[in-house]
Symmetry: C2
Subunit: 480 residues, 2 copies
Amino acid sequence: MHIDILRGTAVALPQQISDTLAQRITSGLLAPGSRLPSVRTLAASLAVSQMTVSKAYAELEKRGHIVCSQGRGCFVAESAKGQPDGSASWQAGYDDYLPRAQLWRNFDSLKVKYPFHLAAIHHELLPLAEIGRTMSRLVTEQPELMGTYGNFQGDQELREVMRTHLQARGITLPSTELMITSGTQQGIDLVARTFVGPGDTVYMEAPSYTGAIDVFAGRGAEIIPVPTDREGMRLDVLTRLCDRRKPKLIYTIPTFQNPSGVTLSMARRQRLLELARSYGCLIVEDDPFSDLYFRHSPPPPIKSLDRDGHVVYIKSFSKVIAPGCRIACVAGSGDILSRLIAAKSASDLGSPLLTQRAVLPFIARKYDVYAAGLRTALRGRMEQAAQLLKQYAPPGVSWSLPEGGLNLWLKLPPCANIGKLHTLAEAESISFLPGEVCHAGDQESRHIRLCYSQMEEAEMLQGLRRFMELLDSYLRSLQC
Amino acid sequence: MHIDILRGTAVALPQQISDTLAQRITSGLLAPGSRLPSVRTLAASLAVSQMTVSKAYAELEKRGHIVCSQGRGCFVAESAKGQPDGSASWQAGYDDYLPRAQLWRNFDSLKVKYPFHLAAIHHELLPLAEIGRTMSRLVTEQPELMGTYGNFQGDQELREVMRTHLQARGITLPSTELMITSGTQQGIDLVARTFVGPGDTVYMEAPSYTGAIDVFAGRGAEIIPVPTDREGMRLDVLTRLCDRRKPKLIYTIPTFQNPSGVTLSMARRQRLLELARSYGCLIVEDDPFSDLYFRHSPPPPIKSLDRDGHVVYIKSFSKVIAPGCRIACVAGSGDILSRLIAAKSASDLGSPLLTQRAVLPFIARKYDVYAAGLRTALRGRMEQAAQLLKQYAPPGVSWSLPEGGLNLWLKLPPCANIGKLHTLAEAESISFLPGEVCHAGDQESRHIRLCYSQMEEAEMLQGLRRFMELLDSYLRSLQC
């Protein structure tokens, strides 16, 4: 069992151990009936005292997560979820390298009526009929597209279309400096597996995209959070931090940041790039939302300023046109890109050719007009959601209006227990993203993230109103 | 720059370093004009003497790969391939964790006339028109399939179909114990990132699937090769090896092994499972070919014998019905599977729903009849290829007839230099897989792998004949 122990934090060691185990148990990663390692074994493997592990187990037993008996050891408590089988006896002790066991990861979005947790765009707003027609034509006229592996770097024609697309956004480079990945998540994963290893320092905004945190943590990186203000990542803080620990990589979502919504100012974009140059490190610029602005178009991407290949820029087309096609574009240069292409080959032998060709004509010819319409539609929804919040959000709940993107980032009063709220909401078939999963480590968070674009509009407004009512009655019950 | 140094092998340290760098340069992972780290820096980072690095650089300069000048340092030699830019100055020194720099990985299969290196089935033999019709219907009738994320574990209906499919092959389990991945490569990658870390011991057949070697090596595993004989992996040897180093994981392709073609006997399947039970370790059973037998159906999968969840079974549907749909099925149980699902979410947020639904009706209703026809067709090709080899293969070249699968595994005489042969073949637009990439570490190999099913039949026979003629004239030129 792999448990990250953080020494020198405010959280006592027994609690760190019991919290991690409790999370694994409630998320189903440790099955009912599984035998936990003995106190002696776990203490040895974590290099802590047996007393520490005993305290952690006692706490878990008190909370009903495990059952211990003299001589037999401790077992995950049975629940209605399932019965133990032969596998339980050895699997719980089989070490893994999973970074965190997140409740929301096991969340099946199809089963929730109001899935506010997932940052996505409702399918009615997406150009799926159009892309479907292209796909239908392709499979009829060129069925062999489904029968061949593409090249690892991505379809040459699509890369050419992406080149033109990026050029219109200030990024000028040849299509040989582009790679197609299965969504942004894979792009981040490829960078991490190629360039980040145990002990390497990765800086990122706090809070940040939970999928990126997972990936870097999974590589054993030392993730150092950098606070943000209205202009985005605090470069003054980052500069001081880098003095102490040289950066291997800086991960940023500079535009309509996920989850906070803030945008990195132009001056800071330049300074960030200078910092990367001076340290000879990479910036991963994750850009899912820059086309989804509500009033002003955001500053140009950091990549547009990059002369020496310090920026790996990842632009998602997944969220914005067809999540099911899983297409993102990665821009990099020189050896950095060649090594990413090698990693892509080991990861999945290249993205499917069919989906690449299916989105190609749309991106080439209709994307810009579509994006303009989408911006209007999203702004309308966001404003309706904000209006409703203004009317129904309980006192003590605050937020700022986003300038783009898909999310609202709400701050709850200090007395609210977000885990408890999550359980209450789940019972009403409402989901949200707890802010704590947007932080590396076990930092507490008073925030939650709600996506206003994932449902049909009336449904979203209904769900949001219900959630605010639930939040109101929960906060009242606390009398805070 | 990360270079794996193997101490205590027959290969001298300077040569290990120069070989790795040469491979990176010829494969394009180190671009022309890139500055190499200074002798002092590289020596320090590899913990070798400066003399060792100096020798390696001298060798590289002699071979024309780099150019060194007093005071300025060493640079990758310019070639026709490209010009250096600003990126070259720092990128070469930016550390990565790529396991190997493989020439063939950068191979663009679309540009080769006779791509014998790629184990695949020619699209004329695949049911692409059928799957295309389903896909066309789906995108017309349910375009929202392209607009939603599926669940991380894979589509419930497809898992139900897979359950029935596996049951007919001796594997009985509920669909909750199945997961859908983007091809076998991703399945192996998920197991590796979840359960294999630096220093963990992974046993596998030698030779084995190069994509699996890359993935385990990329996790920092200690890969220990196990020799094979006619009954597959030598369990007697494996048992002795496990005494010395406890296995974390055993990776095997028991049926029509890639690349050697051998099949693990039933008795050994049982013994392998017992071994895994006694060590509390996982077996990854990679099964791309068991439906592609020529005479007798092979022994049942190891997974069919598994009672306690020691086997993660990966069945590819990619190769056999539609590589472009990238569908494989992973069977596991208990905590092992839950942890793999968590890793899948961090890897790509789940496989696309559309491609899962597109293959579903075919697998449910037509797969078995199709597979019978495919076996006949493949056997016909294999026999024709074998006939041609018999007629044209030069003396000293040997092979055994495969009982199933897609590959021929040829052994060349000791005097042949396979790297040289590869270059000669490339000039004739013929590619093959050099045996050495099927070995972890830098083991020499006298084998090459040829796939007989990737091209249209007449084309394949023509290419094979040309290749044999080329091989013949090459061997004659050596006078060996």
